[in-house]
Symmetry: C2
Subunit: 883 residues, 2 copies
């Protein structure tokens, strides 16, 4: 059997179908489908993507049978249209369009009016009775073809056009006459021959094969190659070519062209939304020279709608809208043309839509019986929900972008600039909205971050301190904004373009795009609709994976519960150490030279930590709470600046030299790989002992006094060897059991570990002997697996992503090949030792849809993410089930 | 069949054998063996280690059959000795000794003279005709037994003994009479009853079972448990108990006791080496109260040798020496006692020996036909060779240790203290020997490290900069010496005990022990003997694994070749960047803001790098040379101190602010995980381009002009993803091919990568598509797999090792469970993609014997280590084959 390379469509019959996108490209497949279901589509045919593949495989030669297939299908089109390609009196004109599986900017797009020459133009004049129309179409064809097929510099022809207008003393193309266009066609051809040394092809067959060759050639042009590289599209996919008979929306006032959506793509409302222009070509609608008119009276406007101007065509189009929605069962984006009162469909595809529209359309379509709930859930992309959960810039507002950084935490906020956390707090107390601008933030800045509307940092990546904390708070943040230079001394920052922003100046941040703007740009508020709730109910019915949240305070916990969190997957106890009241005791502990001194200081912190845990347990009402024991190195709790050191010495009544010596002793070259996590617990057991006591006393008190049911999950961080865990677990169990006995209650508890070092994953079978749960700390696991500091990666990671050396930032979306391999291995090893081990993830990846799907697939029990990403994770978890 | 719990030996017959150490313990097995081969061993029996295991398994109860077995074997001993245990007139006395598989301090050792009481002592008086001897033996038994079996405070009895001497007005035990001892025995027993409330057991059977119980009980005492934990000895092994009839070396001048080695354990010379004392007990030889005499005239001495004093016994002993060596085929360490002219053997075991002795004995024994070459190779421990390759402290010299640090690089050196690299260099030029003392070293100190005899640092671990560079240079280094506090300003350092050492003071370092001593302690030089060369020839005939060296200079390469290196496994090109001439150009490169500026600066470095490679290639004479492209982050090449910054600004004529800003920009939180390795190559391709050009021009020139045969191996560091490697390989191949074409020669080359990040190991199948070789950079791989910075680990790693949380420093010996799992995985994945991929290791582990054996087992092609460890690696590689 010979391979079929060309697929015909026309007159209600098509060889292709909508599901043949891989072979026919998106455009070709949908033209065939529309034809099959009886819609008026100008007849034509599609050269398959396999032609493209064969072409490159065979050293730029077409398959032998192609020419005959094209000729026979062209004859079918001629028969249907009752015109002949190249015929002097009744010529057929065609368009030639590329159409790959995925839309691909950078490739040749379209050539219209193909088949025109000095002879056939006479036939068009005869057909249309409009000489000016015919020569205008002709000159457009020559311009377009010479540009994209022949490689002519298009400015050269435009220059001739300008000269002609000057000659005629007119300003607009529309003021030129038929004769002017005719003369220009001749002048264009002459100039082409002069410049290229080749004549413009007169033979329509030459024109057709030239255009087909240009489409296939453009598949390998540098722009297309770059686009494919950046979007991971394999070169083997190839492109298809669509050859279709021309129809015209610009042959008079009974002609029109337009685009429409079967529902409002912005709100999702169920009405027919579209725009059209009378006597115009498709390109005029998007070009913006004339203002398009609405197709109907659904929304009030002054312009006459198509519903009134061309009522019959409109009724036909409205009927088609209904057919298309019933057929595709999704909102469609369509293009149409009306030639002399006759409607033609030129394109249909699933329409892009905003997040609110996606939700409304999905929920409505279930009510209408068009789709089921599972399909509705799949129709909303998890990433889209982010738009819903934060304010966003008013899309109609003007904005002056002065710098671009990383989109670290979404939302849009305005405020006046401050440069220190203390200022942020004091200004906020007076009711002013402020943006905290720092080179980078540290845990000491948390109160200022709380007080500010948003945070802008010059350094740091997507998982820098500023980014992680801001996301946790649901606060807008632009991080790692290398475009700005912060000058604390002069209380200014300078943007790359030289704009200087002073303290007190108003700026706006868009944390979703990473943009910094001058002034206060208006924003629109998020709204969680009834439809949203309906959809999320379906989501929860589908997903297997539980979704917890990372929360350190009762407030965070409360927000997360509202977003549907089913527990706390990560409570970072060190955040509780920075509170003003406590930091003094923490520092006293660090500066103590012996166990007694440290225990004395820790005893002061104990009641406060206990209070924290009581608050968290109460808020979570019996849902699981995983509490991580102290993780960061101790030097993070000591001041760094000269003045802060002196202040602290005064407060603590210690000599400056002693404190400096301690800071010096604690200094680390690579704190990320230093004396932290369980290494602190091993060398200073009194710290973890205090924390475990606080956790268990909190739990026992609530159980005893308030009848709570709590199973605290105590998590020991940074385990590399099972021995570390067994030593620390033994200590913790002793304290837990002693506390439980002291209160005389029954409380169960779990002791587990973070898997955040490659060695822990590699030896998870050993570690599971001790660990009752694993929580994958994929932030640190990514850092160590890649050997990549998230705080330093800003210098090269953006370059890596831009140049596709990494497909994406591995701190944003889990690297499944490398880090994911370790996660998978650890799950298998852990379960082999302890079949009922609880498995979760608490890195930033817990809120990234692709990573959530990975977590579902490797069989984790839950993901944990910042409160504002909980709905995203829930939806992604449902998508994971639906596949 | 009932389990047999007791093994008899005596009168030329034994139920045990030397290879039954697991069952009988080392001592019991060898007593049995000696008995079987006809040597005079006092008869006795061994309670097996299984008794111990059963004892603990059954809640501290002995197996039911044990008592009967002991009784029947005791009867056999009685029959052979013609004495009866507990008999008033002709009593048998026994010793009870523990004996585990491995020698274990912390356990009960020995009880002598067991069976004595007020009745049997009369029998001993009758047997020996020496009342004083009998009561002396009796009181010793009471002291020993009450101490180790009954838990009596021994000072209490010693106090009574002192009182008695005062009473009698004498100073020495030997001045006390039979009556004195008799009275003391009574007084001892009374005191024991007073203090413990229990009478001293009079029944010899009670004594025997008490002693046996004490041995088994001591297996679980805290000291023994700690020792087992620290030495990874399983509790299940258990200990055996040896019950043996007593013989006495202290019954008169026809009695003696001694220890001997069948060859000189210090030099390995083949003569009978030993010491003895007339009329003495075994403990007197080691106690040092009397000076032992040599057993023969082999080495001149003033004291009468046993050869003359007890010629017959000596001849018998000399014959036994020969029997033992022929039987055990190894040098033996023996204990003997002569009772009234009759020789008894009490112990034999393989003798411990120095490295030179190990080599000489092994080589000699092959010549004597005792062992084959493979056995000889196995007889020398690879670690031992370290002693041979460096000077060591004269073991006879006095030393005042003032501080202890890490034994970072072996050897022993003296010199006067300097605190800067420049001083080290200028002092060394005047011919003075200096020790460079720094808080820590950096690449800028290399010239000073070269000039110094040794290096002492206050901070940093076994793989800190100082340690790694010093080992590479074969230079003595004590690193991470937290005992000293360096005060650069006052040019002093203070040791923990308060000793202040000034600039210019003489100190001595022992890099093998990590000790710092005041003054110049004499040392002895290493000697590589003919025997060494003979042994290494056998080694090379056995091993499969190749051994390369890590070398950055022709000098290093030359030294390594002398030690038998078969190529360079790692040449770190950045070390060439620190040379005074070049660092200026390097800094110019770093400070340039554009590619042109960087290329201009790099062009100055190119000819120098090329010269380096020509030197290396010439030295290695066609052996493979792996060159790693630039690895460290750029900030390592910029000064840090205020003054250095100002100086550099003057030299380079740049404003201080500009330089500071650059330094600030390049600052990293975690340089280990920062902008380094291939990340530099990707973002600044011009740097690697220069280096590749230098490598290939060097190779081409030598091939063209000197007819060399060279296959340079270009190694790209810090690869995490195959994409990084494919981009950099493409650049490198283009330059290589261009250079080869330019010279018009044929040069093959390989391009490969270090596997030093977990992600590289996990995706080694992908990386092997591009990489022609893998070299495991196990230093960094250990850092990232453990999440452990080697520069910071000093704060907790020693604690971890001391407390057996880690069995050993993973930077010294490869962590086979974790890091090794990644290495193994990467080997398998790499070979699956590219079956002939070359695999090696270039981390510090390449010179660690256990790690070398691991490398052999996972099938690497070579290991690479610092020049001075090459012989160690060769020997370890041979051991790996021999298993």
């Amino acid at each position: 059997m010979t391979q079929k390379f060309v697929y015909f469509f026309g007159n209600g019959m098509a060889e292709g179908r909508a599901d043949m996108k891989n072979l026919l490209g998106g455009k070709g497949a949908n033209l065939a489908e529309m034809t099959s279901i009886g819609l008026p589509v100008p007849p034509g045919f599609t050269l398959t993507t396999e032609v493209c593949t064969e072409f490159y495989k065979n050293n730029n030669n077409y398959p032998a049978s192609l020419a005959a297939e094209v000729a026979s299908h062209l004859a079918e089109v001629e028969a249907l249209m009752d015109r002949k390609f190249g015929d002097p009196t009744n010529p057929l004109l065609v368009s030639v369009r590329s159409g790959a599986r995925a839309s691909m900017p950078g490739m040749m797009d379209t050539i219209l009016n193909l088949g025109l020459n000095d002879t056939t133009v006479q036939g068009i004049i005869a057909q249309s009775g409009d000489e000016r129309f015919a020569y205008d179409a002709y000159r457009r064809f020559v311009q377009m073809y010479s540009d994209v097929v022949m490689g002519m510099d298009k400015h050269s022809l435009e220059h001739l056009l300008e000269q002609k207008k000057e000659q005629r003393g007119v300003h607009l193309d529309t003021d030129l006459s038929a004769t002017d266009w005719k003369e220009l066609v001749a002048a264009f051809k002459e100039r082409i021959k002069d410049e290229l040394g080749t004549a413009f092809p007169e033979d329509p067959q030459d024109q057709l094969w030239g255009a087909i060759g240009a489409v296939f050639g453009s598949w390998m042009n540098p722009r297309a190659i770059t686009y494919r590289r950046l979007n991971n599209i394999p070169a083997e996919w190839g492109t298809a070519v669509n050859v279709q008979s021309m129809v015209y929306g610009n042959m008079g006032d009974d002609c029109a062209t337009g685009v429409a959506f079967t529902r409002d793509p912005s709100t999702g409302e169920n009405y027919f939304y579209g725009e059209y222009l009378v006597n115009a070509q498709g390109e005029d609608v998007v070009a913006g020279i004339r203002t398009p008119q609405p197709i109907n009276r659904a929304k009030a406007t002054n312009l006459p709608p198509m519903e009134e101007v061309l009522p019959e065509c409109y009724q036909q189009l409205a009927a088609i809208r209904s057919i298309l929605e019933k057929h595709y069962k999704d909102m469609q984006d369509i293009e149409f043309t009306i030639e002399k009162g006759k409607l033609f469909m030129l394109q249909t595809r699933n329409g892009k839509r905003t997040a609110p529209a996606a939700i409304k359309i999905a929920v409505d379509m279930v009510a209408e019986g068009l789709i089921d709930e599972k399909t509705a859930v799949k129709r909303v992309a998890p990433e889209q929900l982010d738009q819903l959960l934060h304010p966003s810039l008013d899309p109609k507002a003007e904005k002056t972008v002065i710098a671009k950084g990383l989109p670290a935490s979404p939302g849009a906020v305005s405020g006046s600039v401050v440069f220190t956390a203390d200022e942020a707090e004091s200004e906020a107390k007076t009711g002013r909205k402020v943006i905290l601008v720092r080179v980078e933030t540290s845990p000491e800045d948390i109160h200022g971050m709380h007080a500010a509307q948003g945070i802008l940092t010059a350094r740091g990546g997507m998982t820098s301190h500023a980014a992680v904390v801001a996301r946790g708070m649901g606060k807008c943040c632009v991080a790692g904004c290398g475009d700005i230079k912060v000058d604390y001394a002069n209380q200014i920052f300078t943007a790359r373009n030289g704009v200087v922003v002073k303290k007190g100046d108003m700026i706006t941040l868009d944390g979703t795009l990473g943009e910094v703007m001058l002034g206060a740009v208006p924003t629109v508020s998020p709204q969680l609709t009834e439809d949203f709730n309906t959809l999320m109910k379906w989501v929860d019915g589908i997903r297997r994976l539980k979704v917890r949240t990372n929360a350190d305070t009762p407030y965070d916990a409360k927000v997360a519960r509202q977003f549907g969190a089913e527990g706390i997957g990560l409570c970072r106890t060190e955040h509780m150490f920075f509170d003003a009241e406590r930091i003094a005791a923490v520092r006293e502990m660090i500066l103590s030279d012996d166990v007694e001194g440290r225990e004395h200081a820790l005893a002061k912190i104990l009641p406060m930590q206990k209070g924290d845990f009581i608050g968290l347990f109460r808020e979570m009402k019996g849902l699981p709470v995983t509490i991580r024991l102290l993780d960061p190195p101790l030097h993070e709790f000591l001041p760094q600046g000269e003045k802060d050191i002196e202040d602290l010495c005064k407060t603590m009544k210690v000599p400056v030299n002693a404190l400096k010596h301690k800071i010096d002793t604690l200094h680390e070259f690579n704190p990320m790989l230093g004396h932290r996590g369980c290494r602190l617990g091993i060398t200073y057991p009194e710290i973890y002992n205090m924390q475990v006591t606080a956790i268990m006393e909190a739990a026992c008190e609530l159980v005893k006094n308030e009848g709570f049911s709590i199973v605290p999950e105590i998590m020991i961080p940074l385990i590399a060897t099972v021995k570390e865990l067994s030593v620390l677990k033994q200590n913790a169990v002793a304290i837990c059991d002693e506390t439980i006995a002291r209160y005389g209650v029954k409380v169960e508890y779990l002791i587990g570990t973070m898997i955040e070092l490659p060695r822990a994953a590699l030896t998870a079978d050993e570690i599971a002997v001790e660990a009752e749960f694993f929580s994958f700390g994929t932030n640190d696991l990514t850092q160590t697996t890649f050997g990549l500091s998230r705080d330093d990666a800003g210098k090269f990671l953006p370059f890596y992503v831009d140049n596709n050396i990494l497909p994406e930032d591995p701190f944003v979306s889990l690297d499944q090949k490398g880090v994911g391999k370790l996660v998978k291995m650890a799950c298998e090893l852990g379960r082999a030792t302890r079949p009922n081990i609880k498995l979760g993830i608490c890195g930033e990846h817990g809120g990234d849809p692709a990573s959530v799907i990975f977590c579902h697939n490797v069989g984790l029990d839950y993901v944990s993410c910042s409160p504002f990403r909980v709905p995203i994770a829930r939806l992604a978890a449902a998508h994971a089930v639906l596949g």
